[in-house]
Symmetry: C2
Subunit: 511 residues, 2 copies
């Protein structure tokens, strides 16, 4: 090596030392570095790059598509779904008290038809109960009036009473799940959570972030992604044998990304298992309104447990819900709640303290939960329009789910279970060996490679199955069926052309 | 011991074992158990109890007061401060797109005067930039349009450029601070943060929650709570000698709870200290609009550092701001931002990943930040009204600050520094020995006892100085000066009567 080269390396090293930062990758919480959240990753980054490319030069961007279609995330309003009129009327009136007063003072009380009368009444009700309005910090559990509405909704849904004091309003359901992970996973302890595989990456990300162990139990793809107690027992036993202290069991029903809607019997067995094994049951029930298959019915785990009788007295249960899914799809407003069932009061006090450190969840989100659980009733001025909007969205979602799943099942190498619930399909892709090799070469998971090629060819954004975890050697991707009805055919034809080309290319290279 | 007693004890134990819960105080993250957040604690619990007592029986509640006055927290709208009309007009229009379209289609474009024309234009601008509206998840850093508005605001304020890509929108400033604590405090490592004493309890709570070390530096009460570099050096040296790896330095300016507004020279010395000692500077600048004292001026640490020249090139700086304070006081909507300056891109990527795990901050909060940093300009239809509302609030806050501090300084045993900024006074109370003994007897900190007695006698809620930490053997409490102008006299007279009685009672018992 020549002296000048040595000198220049030394200078570079010196420069690096002199510029060494306090906050850099080597000095960051390693749990954060390790955590993965696949719904937003390399593929979304590439999609955002394409999006900018298109915006910068709409005519000459040089891409083989003119728009990015984000099927990676359950974000309906980005794909054209409209918010419910009643909800937004009430939100805008509570947000703007002067407007509410003008509406009330106007002839007919609707500001010339700008509002329905029941929206005006509902807004007034919220401001009567909370004269301070949306601009004040609320109680750290959330507005009492909304928690009462939630309790009434749960009681009606389940036929069992619900207590507003056991309900916490949160910034979306994710924030609530995070609170529990932070509460239950003890630094330096081998605490673990049973989580379905495939799972929603929130659970794996939070497990890593708070230093816990992810204990996966496989859903049975050959039987509509059913959760079987035998498999739960296997996973638990193996984890315990390794010294993991399994504390909780996550069940996502309807499933994400897998879309199954659990049968009552399976739920009963799971509840009994959780009681028997002394596990806290986390019921992620955010897709409870998104039931797609004929004959399928959502049962909350609380109802299932309480209907079982004495067992329920012992089940420690937390159930999560959100304003982001269902037919509202109010993702951006960040409204969620969880209900505690049979949770120790001291543990509840700790959750309250944790909530209080960041003061309260956002009040428009809290309000959106009230509107979700307490829709217009028969006879209310908004009722007919509300039902029309709701049913329109739900029926259309069903049509799109069946259309997309039928089309996917026709593609070479692809098979997908019939959709039962949620907003997703999770098709399996049998990838040609050459494709797997090409993926390996480029340092990607094989399904990541498939999804990246799909994006590059079509602008359609999906999430590789590896981000959700899956049985080794199988490959999947998650796609929403949320593109608007007039767009879904285009999505299907683009996917079809891509998959045909992809399979042809990599199969021929095997010859 | 008789057999029956033994039997009943055994049965009780057995019952306890049989009912042992998975989630209970003994199995919760000990960091959470240990964390304290004094702004919401025993005194607020008691206040809420009184509030319920009054509501349940407004005529015969039996308390010596008819209302609770929450001076414990900077929550202006709960005490009657009105939100800014322009901001709420825009928020309601963006929330309700049909309403915006009706306004635009109406003669004059204001829906019969329900909106100012510039509010309608601004709402349309936001929806043009974000056609998906408030109901979609945003980019995990927040709406680009708002980040551009923030960057423009910072550039105008500081005379130095600001990059929207270095800005994150968060659910209030607290959520941003939490992100950094989770990023920087590594489990099992002796990482620490330099934090002013007295401090805002968010910092101590997050330090404990993420397993770090709080390294306190004392503010000088005898010199308007100034932060002195000599004291910073002492604290740093002592902490390092004990093996603590001090990573960051928190400066709250204007101060909370102490209300000082730092002088330029002090800020320059602090910035140079942070560079010299390789510490990330966390500039909590949420009270930057709340300058009270004549002749005092807020300087952002970014401006200070960049004006200093080459030193700034090395300063790792994060500055926090919020929609909850200033003259907006939009606490409930949970809008905040932080700006990165000279932060390693890989560290930024980790912050982005952390934000993405819970998807995005709430969009109405994001919007409220845009409205905060980009108010109506001269010539805009809302400008005059906006200025009137803004100045009315700020002038009134000044009057109330001076009135309350003057009154407190007249009380026996109480002295308070002249208010310079923020929303708080932090008076020192010299407590009679007998009062300290009475406090000890009831297991409370002496200032906690004083605040509890104040609450019981007057309904006024304050926070004991011990919740913020303070020099040993001194006692303080934090009070806002936020009660409305027609209420502040009542607050003062209630406090005066209480303090006179309290001091008389406990001094006489010393005789």
């Amino acid at each position: 090596m020549r002296m000048s080269a040595i000198l220049s390396i030394s200078l570079a090293l010196l420069g690096k030392l002199a510029l060494a930062k306090q906050l850099e990758i080597g000095s960051i919480n390693p749990n954060l570095i390790e955590a993965q959240y696949a719904v937003r990753g390399a593929i979304l980054d590439k999609a955002e790059e394409f999006q900018k490319q298109i915006e910068a030069n709409p005519q000459g961007h040089g891409l083989p598509f003119d728009s990015i279609v984000p099927c990676n995330i359950g974000n309906p309003q980005v794909l054209g779904q409209k918010p419910l009129s009643f909800n937004r009327e009430v939100l805008s009136l509570v947000m703007n008290r002067d407007l509410l007063e003008k509406a009330e003072a106007s002839p007919g009380g609707t500001l010339g038809g700008a509002f329905k009368a029941d929206a005006v009444r509902r807004a007034r009700m919220y401001l009567t109960r909370n004269p301070e309005g949306l601009g004040a910090y609320s109680n750290s559990q959330g507005w009492a009036v909304v928690r009462e509405e939630v309790a009434e909704f749960i009681a009606q849904r389940d036929g069992h009473p619900s207590d507003p004091e056991q309900i916490f309003l949160t910034d979306g359901a994710s924030a609530g799940v995070r609170m529990f992970y932070q509460t239950m996973l003890r630094p330096g302890q081998p605490d673990g959570m049973l989580v379905p595989i495939p799972q929603y990456p929130l659970y794996s990300a939070l497990t890593t972030l708070f230093g816990g162990h992810l204990v996966g139990y496989y859903l049975d793809e050959s039987a509509s992604w059913e959760a079987r107690v035998g498999e739960l027992e296997r996973a638990l036993k193996e984890a315990r044998a390794k010294g993991t202290n399994v504390r909780g069991l996550v069940v996502i029903n309807p499933g994400n990304p897998t879309g199954q809607c659990l049968d009552l019997k399976a739920q009963q067995e799971i509840a009994a298992f959780a009681v028997r094994e002394n596990l806290v049951l986390f019921a992620d029930e955010v897709y409870q309104e998104n039931i797609i298959a004929e004959g399928k019915k959502f049962n909350s785990f609380k109802k299932v447990a309480l209907d079982m009788g004495s067992a329920a007295a012992k089940l420690e249960l937390i159930s999560f819900h959100t304003a982001s899914k269902g037919f509202m799809g109010e993702c951006g407003i960040r409204g969620g709640y969880f209900e505690l069932h049979n949770i120790d009061p001291e543990a509840k006090a700790m959750l309250y303290k944790l909530a209080s450190i960041t003061l309260c969840s956002n009040t428009p989100g809290q309000l959106s939960i009230g509107l979700m659980v307490n829709p217009p009733k028969k006879g209310d001025e908004s009722h007919a329009a509300y039902v029309g909007e709701r049913d329109g969205i739900l029926e259309s979602l069903k049509r799109r789910a069946f259309k997309l799943s039928a089309a996917l099942n026709k593609l070479e190498g692809i098979s997908v279970n019939p959709p039962e619930g949620s907003m997703y399909l999770f098709p399996q892709v049998k990838l040609p060996k050459a494709a797997v090799q090409a993926a390996n070469k480029s340092g990607m998971a094989a399904d990541g490679f498939y999804c990246m090629e799909l994006l590059k060819a079509t602008g359609i954004v999906t999430v590789p199955g590896s981000g959700f975890k899956q049985v080794d050697g199988t490959w999947h991707f998650r796609t929403t069926f949320l593109p608007a009805e007039d767009k879904i055919d285009t999505v299907i034809s683009r996917m079809t052309v891509f998959n045909d080309n992809f399979m042809r290319k990599f199969k021929s290279s095997e010859l």
